[in-house]
């Protein structure tokens, strides 16, 4: 599984980077930068929580290989 961002929906709440710093950091304006790597099994639960926590539902979970 990988995380992705819908850049139009995202308004830089920044929760995702707080919850999943292993894959996500913020740019100078508070918008998430994803490293593009797969989410390891032990972080899948947290990634799901981060996606649910995004107030604009801009954080997306995608199956690998997409």
């Amino acid at each position: 599984m990988r995380v992705a961002v819908d850049p139009i929906q995202c308004v830089a709440h920044g929760l995702c980077a707080e919850l999943l710093p292993e894959r996500i950091r913020l740019d100078d304006w508070g918008y998430p930068i994803l490293d593009g790597e797969p989410v390891p099994r032990e972080l899948v639960g947290i990634a799901r929580r981060a996606a649910d926590a995004c107030p604009t539902l801009a954080l997306l979970l995608e199956p690998d290989g997409k």
Binding site: V5, D6, P7, I8, Q9, C10, V11, A12, D27, D28, W29, G30, Y31, I33
Partner: protein, 429 residues
Amino acid sequence: MAIATEQALPRILTGIGEEPMAELESHLDVHGPLPDLRRWSPEQIISVVERSGLRGHGGASFPMATKLRAVASRRKPKILVANGTEGEPASKKDRVLLRELPHLVLDGAAIAARAVGAGEAVIAISDVDERSARSLELAVDERQHAGLRGDPQFQLFGAPERWLTGQESALVNVLNGGPGKPTFGPRPFERGVRQRPTLVQNVETLAHLALIARHGADWFRLLGTDRDPGSALVTVAGAVSAPGVYEIEHGMPLEELLQTADGREPLSAVLLGGYFGTWLPGAHIRGVRLAAEHLAEHGASLGAGVIVALGQSACPVAETARIADYFAAQSAGQCGPCTNGLGAVADTVQQLATGTASAGARAELARWGKDIKGRGACQHPDGAVRFVSSALRVFAEDFDDHARHGPCPRCSHPPALPATPIPAFPVAR
């Protein structure tokens, strides 16, 4: 009258200035009739396109056959959009085509529509481009009266004149009644105009297709290079006495094109591939050939065919600052990295140009360039930072000079890169 086996140029521009090519009769006299499309299966058309190696002429150079197949393989009824919106201020070639050679574009649209199984073809142009609208209306009328077989139902659409209008998803969005901003999610070939699989194809690409259908894939490959066959329309602008639209063979030496357009002063650089393109320093012009595989060695591509010559009397720093501003203003304002990033890039370039930037300004620009890339719903931010980083690299000495001493005498030179003050998106609320 053109002969089917003729290899020489012009191809697309044949007859211009000699015959009233906008009229169906002259068009048919010069090019001959289109083969009866109803006898061609969609797959036959696609495989001819594939063998020809035709790529898109709207900027991204995507192989046309791949795109045709992606749309043709969908189940629902399809729609074709011929993209003649030409949002880049320096580009003129699509307008020349629409005004002077509408039948070549409509022929190509008919073939592409047949290839993907579309009964409707929308010809999208800029809503202030009245001359193209008139020429297309007359041409469509003529075809209907002549009872041309195999034509789809043509429809003309005027889209807002803006840098981003021609971006595929933005164009589909405006055709669906939206504000004409790029979208995130399903691509037009999956779900486009009225939710239907939609083929968006630049009008010049369609014009090439009209000739390939007549003369074949092998004929198309008689010109150009292995990886970049055929010819292309280019718009030459800047420090030349004869700016305008030229048809070139892919692989033509850049120097030769600049001589044809009558370069009037020593050049400090040439912008290849338009505003999302790459600067080539003047000292490197010799030996460069205008074909994908050669340009790639310089990190450049022909894009939508815009070539701007920057004379030594113009200031590259002032030009870069002006275009960086233009890019920021033309953002759709939807994605944070674009809205904030391009604004910050433009401000910082402006500070460099006026000698008011901080010591770390260029390092910051380099970091933003990497950070911003690939993070918008469309490639607008990517193209904008590519332009700026290319300028910072090629004009490093000029930027040094401005950062230390502020504006130079050349800064007041009239703008070399046109940035038509076309309205950006209206600000919400």
